[in-house]
Symmetry: C2
Subunit: 310 residues, 2 copies
């Protein structure tokens, strides 16, 4: 029997303009799984957290990830997964991606690392597909690899790790509003005005240029989303007002995390990140909406072992 | 009386995926204007080349550029422009932008450089608007500033100069087919599928990342245009066939230059660029389409004085 304990971080998809193609990993916040592999052929998933999760393993994102891995390496095994720590599902900070990344990474470690990082991401994307009905890597890739990543293309999967500014902090809040990922995708139009698409890719270019050149001001002014935000911001009470308060407090930008309802603000100053966190809490308190607030660094670490026994 | 002689380079807009937001300047090929400023209030334009140009100055792109400059600096003057060298209009390598850039830059020099580079580009965009009915900077900005530029946004104009790989060659051919810029814009749909727009901005991000990281392979695979090319390539005889010949010969990518009909291939090898030029000539010769072929370096220089007398 082999056993690993794996941490996979929360992540923020889109970063404003980078809808479906950019994501970043957070420090500290994330999922922890323990996975054991032994002789046999089966899968069990035990939830030891107080976060409610489906008891039917066919509905747990871990299941298709484990199966995809075993299919790629063409092996059979008895896999027993214990969920020790879990980001609340529906939070918009990559809850399904964290479980999927931890499962894919842990399986790879248990079997002697036969897969590349990109293949581990491909396995994790099976979990994303179960959660939202689409093969997206903008949470799964940063969760696995850490840092800020660009998904250049999906056919084939082409993941670019971009430089993370030295001091780059993220204040993120999860207001307790239920926004289903699939619903948040369905609200978007199937076609977008060419003019808006051009604005969006100008900003994507600017964001990438800002990260590579360390131009934090450029990063901030490029983080505009004219495609999804106009539709999705209505899920989030007082969105525009919250943004103007955060920008006044010195944040570089505030955007929806993935399909929401979480929102996040980035800054290169720790004190501004702390203040952004207070502003977020105060904003939702006033609206009598419960929320969690995290103030963390953007992480370069990605998924990692936090314990192993063989 | 003051007089300047100004060279402004040809340029290539879009670079594949960067429709309306990315452009690059070429070495050697370009327009030369002589501009004199003296006391008075008027404008003359004399064409000393054998390239046919409108004789009505209201139809020459130089006119709105000169007027915009004088309006910004709030001055009156007698301006006499002589066109000494001219890229063929309709070639798709920034003919109108070269004249506009030379006029804007030359005026700024004549009046003691009161304008920033971005303001010079703004003046040059007046010429682009006359030529194509839109304020685009994806030829004007590289023509003025040189190198490879990103127009992050237009409101306000936000131009980012990106690193040019050390050895970066361009083979470009202008087949003698008339494609009016306005017509080439009108053929594009007003709305595009969200799925295609996402592919495009993934590629824009990849292209920018490739330029900053010096990853030439990434630059090549990111130079895909799923938005304009599917419509515009039908203007160019044997487009797909020419591309497959150029890629087989080692070119990184082949794309339409701006709205066409010119096409260009990029490479980091001089011998491949030479070979690409021969392939282009042979391709259009076989189709009995006359063409010019240029094989030049991507230039960092932009518009520059090539003579001044005061």
């Amino acid at each position: 029997m082999k056993k690993v304990r794996v941490f996979a971080p929360a992540s923020i998809a889109n970063m404003g303009c980078g809808f479906d193609v950019i994501g970043l990993a957070l420090d500290e916040v994330g999922d922890i799984l323990e996975i054991t592999a032994s002789e046999g052929d089966g899968l069990t998933i035990t939830n030891e957290t107080d976060v409610p999760l489906p008891t039917d393993i066919e509905k747990n994102v871990i299941t298709p990830v484990v199966r995809k891995f075993l299919q790629i390496v063409d092996k059979k095994a008895q896999i027993d997964v214990t969920i020790c720590q879990k980001i609340y599902p529906g939070s918009g900070i990559g809850s399904s991606a964290a479980s999927s990344a931890a499962a894919a990474y842990g399986m790879n470690e248990l079997f002697g690392c036969p897969l590349t990082d990109e293949q581990v991401v491909l396995c994790a994307m099976e979990g994303e597909n179960l959660a939202s009905g689409g093969y997206h890597a903008d949470n799964a890739a940063p969760a696995v690899m850490g840092g800020i990543v660009l998904i250049r293309g999906y056919e084939p999967l082409d993941i670019i790790q971009m430089p993370v500014p030295g001091n780059f902090y993220c204040a993120v809040t999860h207001p307790h509003i239920v926004v289903n990922t699939k619903e948040a995708r369905d609200i978007l139009p199937k076609e977008v005005p060419l003019h808006d698409a051009v604005s969006q890719w100008g900003n994507v270019g600017g964001l990438v240029a800002g990260l590579y050149s360390g131009n934090i001001g450029l990063v901030g002014r490029a983080m505009k989303d004219v495609i999804a935000e106009p539709y999705r911001k209505h899920f989030i009470p007082g969105f525009d007002n919250l943004r103007s308060k955060l920008l006044s407090a010195g944040a570089l930008a505030m955007n929806i995390s993935g399909s929401g309802p979480s929102v996040f603000a980035l800054t290169d100053r720790h004190d501004v990140a702390q203040r952004a966190g207070w502003i977020m809490r105060e904003h939702f308190d006033k609206l009598e909406v419960q929320c969690e607030v995290y103030v963390v660094k953007v992480s370069n670490k990605g998924t990692k072992l936090c314990g192993v026994s063989i």
